[in-house]
């Protein structure tokens, strides 16, 4: 049963990945799928910027622009940033806490396939009559008026992928609570693990409102509901609330793992433990908590009244405090350190000024009275790109470079990595800094063109130039990945040489079972402690023995495929007679697969001690 170090054909590899329940392989799946969607979203961004390069441009039509703009936002948030965050979590968190696997390996795979099929479904819309065109927020009155099936693809696709995310969230919560190695107390958990924990909790509570909102919209568009139809007593503001009760925590769902990644990188490449670890943990939890009480700041201009606006304004400002604590803690982690400017560290260092700009414009947006000017203008576009790109994308790029050797056993080229960094960094600021001023000068967001003579020409042109820098950075990154994959040299367990946490104690890539012996954790930065005491490896907490592993399964794929088919059927429910039946067949496929999962006992298998010893010997020599 063991798949250790065995050469396999292409078909076998594909089958392996289709059925895998191994968190490391699932991480790679998330990375690939998320990466592809990231490229797609980036392409959409380029189209947007080309269209807006000059006034009255007719590169694309107005209607198509709205589709591109909607898909850019939706893809980047749901299909690129979230899965890439999940890729990092899956690759690292179980190893960081000294576990052999996640709590629910089967559900882990299911989560991935749900996300994947949801994403594919959403993008099918391009070929089946038009993509959604009401913005990623899909406000009810416009989305109900949209004539194509685009919004239906949005609703059903996000529903499916959202389910996957929810499952992933629960999985990580249980993993972190139940699967920690002996000695790994909560206050010894690496910051990235903490961030994953809080993020997962946010997912657990933020996704249900989205689910409900999507159900309502599905009912209204496909099954004759009246939730958002004022003529029959419906209320479009309900959608806005539900969307933002989800949408605001979603920002933290993305940015907290980013903070976690940077916390690891700052500590590693400053060769210092994280400054103020406990206040960092507290700040993370506090941000998560406050994240649920501020959603209406996205709705200041809706007309909720001054009382609600004032309350939400002040609550929003409060979030700046724990965020500020984090910024200073990072600065003081570097203070007195021995800073090495590796590629991941470059991103981390560049993140601080970039994110601070995004953060302070966030506070500016929180001042409700002034937000009446910023709202839905390019100022807001600039603000959230500073947060999402300057925070999350920087972190994902940093994390990818940082953990690439751990995931694939080879280091990405540092020279190319730095080229990518500089292109991306310059392009990013070039694109978005000027947009603050475009917004203040009166340019609304989501416009497919602008007229000459309103003062928007220069700013938009600069912005477009910047976008091409980022595109160039992406090309270099892809080249780097290809070159590394083909020519890269295998590396050992701790290729950066300064690894502090447990993932750097196991070979790169980690063996299927992660740890031959579960380690005993003796403090924060467990691996660093061992290294400082001159030890080569970790202190084991158990004798070497057979290791129990879960069986691979094809069922997650089938369950997700069933929902995909069902969604397609229900989408055409009102157009064709077969719609309903295809929908029912799809649901039956899903329920059938779930039934099989339920009745077939799956006790997993064991890797024998001898096999492990052999594998460990090889791993040590690599």
């Amino acid at each position: 049963m063991s798949t250790l170090a065995r050469k396999k054909g292409v078909g076998a590899v594909i089958w392996d990945y289709l059925t895998t329940v191994d968190h490391k392989k699932i991480a790679i799946l998330y990375l690939i799928a998320g990466g592809i969607f990231f490229l797609l979203g980036g392409l959409e961004a380029l189209v947007i910027r080309i269209q807006l390069a000059v006034p009255n441009n007719d590169f694309i039509s107005a209607g198509f622009y709205n589709e591109v703009l909607t898909m850019h936002g939706t893809t980047m948030i749901f299909l690129a940033a979230m899965p890439l965050v999940f890729a990092m979590m899956n690759a690292v968190v179980p190893i960081q806490i000294g576990a052999r696997d996640v709590a629910f390996p089967f559900l882990n795979a299911l989560g991935f396939w749900l996300f994947f099929f949801g994403g594919v479904f959403l993008n099918l819309s391009w070929f089946l009559g038009g993509a959604p065109d009401a913005g990623w927020t899909s406000y009810a009155s416009l989305s109900l008026a949209s004539p194509t099936h685009g919004i239906d693809f949005y609703v059903l696709g996000l529903q499916i992928s959202g389910l996957g995310t929810l499952i992933g969230g629960i999985n990580f919560l249980v993993t972190i609570i139940n699967m920690r190695a002996p000695g790994m107390t909560y206050m010894r958990m690496p910051m990235f693990t903490w961030a994953t924990f809080v993020t997962s909790a946010l997912i657990l509570f933020a996704f249900p409102p989205l689910t409900v909102g999507l159900i309502f919209m599905m009912m209204d568009r496909l099954f004759g509901g009246n939730f958002f139809d004022p003529a029959l007593g419906g209320n479009t503001i309900i959608w806005e609330h539900l969307f933002w009760i989800f949408g605001h925590p979603e920002v933290y769902i993305l940015v907290l793992p980013a903070f976690g990644i940077f916390s690891e990188i700052f500590a590693t490449f400053s060769r210092k433990r994280l400054f103020g670890y406990s206040s960092m943990v507290f700040a993370t939890v506090l941000i998560g908590f406050l994240g649920f009480m501020v959603w209406a700041h996205h709705m200041f201009t809706v007309g909720l009244g001054p009382i609600a606006n004032a309350i939400f304004a002040v609550a929003t400002m409060a979030i700046a405090v724990p965020t500020g604590v984090k910024i200073f803690n990072w600065l003081f982690t570097m203070w007195g350190g021995n800073i090495r400017f590796t590629t991941p560290m470059m991103y981390a260092v560049a993140f601080i000024p970039s994110f601070v700009i995004g953060g302070v414009t966030g506070v500016m947006n929180a001042t409700a009275a002034a937000d009446y000017q910023y709202h839905d203008s390019y100022f807001v576009v600039a603000h959230f790109h500073y947060v999402i790109v300057g925070g999350v994308v920087f972190a994902l790029l940093a994390g990818a470079h940082y953990w690439w050797p751990k995931m694939f056993g080879k280091m990405l080229d540092e020279k190319l990595g730095k080229v990518t960094f500089w292109l991306f960094f310059i392009g990013f600021h070039l694109t978005f800094f000027i947009q603050h001023f475009l917004g203040l000068m009166g340019m609304p967001r989501r416009v497919f063109t602008f007229l000459p003579g309103q003062g928007f020409e220069t700013g938009n042109l600069i912005s477009t130039v910047g976008a091409f820098f980022m595109a160039a950075a992406t090309v270099v990154l892809l080249a780097n990945v290809v070159i590394t994959t083909v020519k890269g040299k295998r590396v050992g367990a701790d290729p950066w040489g300064d690894g502090r946490t447990l993932e750097w104690a196991v070979s790169s890539p980690a063996p299927e079972y992660n740890f031959a012996q579960i380690p005993l954790v003796r403090g924060l930065d467990a691996y660093w402690i061992e290294k400082m005491e001159g030890k080569k490896g970790l202190t084991p907490a158990e004798p070497l023995g057979d290791i129990h592993m879960p069986n691979p399964s094809f069922l997650p794929f089938v369950i997700s495929l069933g929902l995909f088919i069902a969604a397609l059927g229900f989408l055409y429910n009102q157009d064709y007679a077969w719609g309903k039946w295809v929908g029912i067949v799809g649901l039956l496929v899903t329920l059938g697969a779930m039934f099989l999962r339920s009745v077939i006992d799956d006790h997993g298998f064991h890797i024998h001690k001898e096999e492990i010893m052999e594998a460990e010997k090889k791993g040590a020599g690599a």
Partner: protein, 110 residues
């Protein structure tokens, strides 16, 4: 073989456990009876013409909350040890739920 008991003699322990289980069952039956009672009171409170809805609405909501507490703590064993995390996450859910409902009954106008 792991020993799940504290005392050495499994039979003694078994008897003790059975007794404890039976005792717990008694509590559960009592809470069931209370729940039925609360339900009936709630239905009557609504059926009775004498109460204004300013009284009856908060009153029946209170009854529902009490009833749910019985469900959670007795039927779903939240009163037992090892339910710290379930409680933490359930109450976090309740917190978000409360905010949502509060917002929807105050700032969503029709």
């Amino acid at each position: 073989m792991a020993n799940h008991t504290n005392s050495g003699n499994p039979n003694v322990d078994l008897a003790y456990r059975r007794k404890k289980n039976a005792e717990e069952m008694k509590f559960q039956v009592i809470s069931f009876i209370l729940m039925i009672f609360l339900t009936i009171v709630a239905f009557f409170a609504v059926g009775y013409e004498g109460f204004s809805h300013w009284f009856s609405v908060p009153f029946i909501l209170l009854l529902a909350t009490v009833q749910v507490a019985f469900q959670l703590y007795y039927f779903m064993h939240m009163s037992h040890k090892g339910h710290e995390f379930p409680a933490l996450f359930l109450y976090s859910g309740v917190f978000v739920a409360f905010l949502t409902v509060l917002a929807f009954v105050t700032i969503v106008w029709v």
